[in-house]
Symmetry: C2
Subunit: 347 residues, 2 copies
């Protein structure tokens, strides 16, 4: 997916600070395991030589900093949480690449494709542990980030979100082998996937020692944003932006018969003929490009594309409204609203 | 591997308390993801019907309780940590079964074999998150386990150990494609794998609010025990107990050319002919049973079996000596010594 670049609410300097904090955290460790992580994050080639690949999406890390700023926090306190959220997201990507057999991500071979599935599963597990270690390393720092109560709240936030995403993944994978997946089921999975952005925005609030009503508003904002993004990822896989072809991650989702809001809508609302035809396609073990073309043309006819687009737009507005009770200064509400739109649209 | 049964230091009632606390924690959640976890842990069959498979190894959970007792703690405070250590161990087993393509564990089909690798990777990730959630759920309880400082120390202990195991896994996997793996390299991997038992024993001390010198002694005790067990797992894979055949997990390690202390010793110390013959065998993509028979007969000749056995015995004694400075009552030192011997020998 395209990078969000520098998220609204952050300066170039903020983004640079984040990137070097993230890189120093990984580079502080010597073993080859960490070189694989550095490769995945875009700073090294497969031989361990420094490389600067095109800026990857860092919307999780950036959103922690933006939410913290809006809640009156500073970058220094928010940085370990920003690193943690970005790493949790990335551990999931590394595992997803094995699960969906993606050969490329960000136009580079995936870890499993280069080092094999066993190393990729292990690298993902290591990134998962590293996410929390980033938070612990701040224990001896000054400020709210060193308060054990806050550390424990931050980690619990991340773990609950991770578990929600795993619950969603279970369903998402089990839907591959079913044709009859309903709209409500798809929403339920998307909301679970949205939990990580919810935790991400909340972490920014925790870093700023915001009160619990602000934390809850940030969670609602992030969860709605993440839910909309998750649904939009499926939409973009079916209908890529006009100037681009499907990438390997998008193809992987479709060929493995992952269901989406649009397909669920067509299955619930299509004519018997439409439904039978979709069922026949989904009965194949793996879909080929002609099958995918047929699916998209059916979904255009059934109005399922615009049904899904409307829901993505509504969820984005829901995210923005969630900020109202926070009492954040207007300019911060505006930049967080822009951030939500960008996170969703860059899916 | 055989179960340690009830670990020395625990009564039947302690073990029952642990088993029901672990089961209630998983059963408290409704989704099918948790049924897969319950299957893996031995309380359900693949259709989600209750089943009581033979008691699985619970040495991680039991060791937390035993160490806590020795340090003057009670089961109630130690229970969430016991659950956490047991779940971290089990998330690793679920992922290892995918990595080594094990079809069976504890005489039952593995998660990946029954539900596919994508679900198994996801189930492991979920168990990994659940491990810490067990600790957080105690925040509202009474006693030391509800102190955020202690919670944060416990989680950091687990994460640092998990990362060490991942570092070890990286090396272990990378050794599969090399013949020339030295004795020191094998020790380094085994010590990293031993970190989880080190963290496990330490968690018992944390639950009992033991002072830092006791915590360090418990870490040394657990790490040496875990290191010895890890080396003994390799020995038992090569030379199973006289009355048993190799199980699927043992075969998987050997066929995938995982290296062991015994093979490293033979490669470093064998005659040129021995070394060349081992190199030829390890050049095959996957080993067959005849290759494995040839390896074990070479390792008998080079004295590599007894070399490895002596190191396992020495590490077990090192574990037991580590308890000396703790000031634990003698009967607790004795039961922890017995526990170490059993954990190693049941590898």
């Amino acid at each position: 997916m395209p990078s969000t670049g520098i998220l609204p609410g952050l300066t170039v300097d903020d983004a640079d600070q984040f990137e070097s904090a993230l890189q120093s955290f990984i580079d502080s460790r010597e073993l080859p395991l960490y070189k694989m992580m550095a490769y995945h994050l875009g700073w090294m080639d497969q031989n361990g030589e420094p490389e600067r690949s095109a800026l990857q999406d860092r919307s999780h890390g950036h959103l922690v900093l933006a939410a913290s700023k809006a809640a009156g926090g500073d970058n220094a306190s928010a940085m370990p949480y920003a690193i943690a959220a970005e790493l949790v997201h990335n551990f999931m990507l590394v595992h997803e690449d094995v699960q969906n057999a993606n050969t490329e991500r960000n136009h580079r071979p995936t870890i499993w494709w280069s080092w094999g599935p066993a190393q990729a599963i292990n690298a993902g597990d290591g990134i998962h542990a590293m996410a929390r270690i980033s938070i612990f390393e701040q224990r001896n720092a000054d400020g709210p980030a060193s308060d054990p109560r806050q550390i424990s709240m931050a980690i619990e936030t991340l773990d609950n979100a991770t578990l929600k995403v795993c619950e969603g993944e279970y369903l998402d994978i089990s839907f591959q082998e079913r044709a009859n997946v309903g709209v409500e089921e798809i929403f339920s999975v998307a909301r679970k996937h949205g939990a990580l952005f919810g935790a991400t925005a909340r972490l920014g609030g925790i870093a700023a020692a915001a009160d619990s009503s602000v934390l809850d508003a940030l969670t609602r904002y992030g969860t709605a944003t993440g839910t909309a993004r998750s649904l939009n990822i499926d939409l973009k896989a079916l209908w890529p932006d006009s100037d681009s072809e499907r990438d390997d991650v998008q193809r992987g989702r479709l060929q493995s018969k992952k269901k989406s809001l649009a397909t669920a809508h067509a299955i619930e609302n299509g004519t018997p003929t439409t439904r039978r035809r979709l069922g026949e396609i989904f009965m194949k073990r793996v879909l080929d490009p002609a099958d995918i073309d047929e699916i998209t043309s059916i979904l255009d006819e059934t109005g399922s594309k615009s049904f899904a687009e409307n829901h993505v737009a509504a969820l984005t507005e829901e995210a923005i409204s969630a900020l109202e009770p926070t009492g954040f200064p207007t300019r911060h509400k505006t930049t967080l609203a822009e951030a939500a739109r960008l996170i969703v649209s860059s899916a």
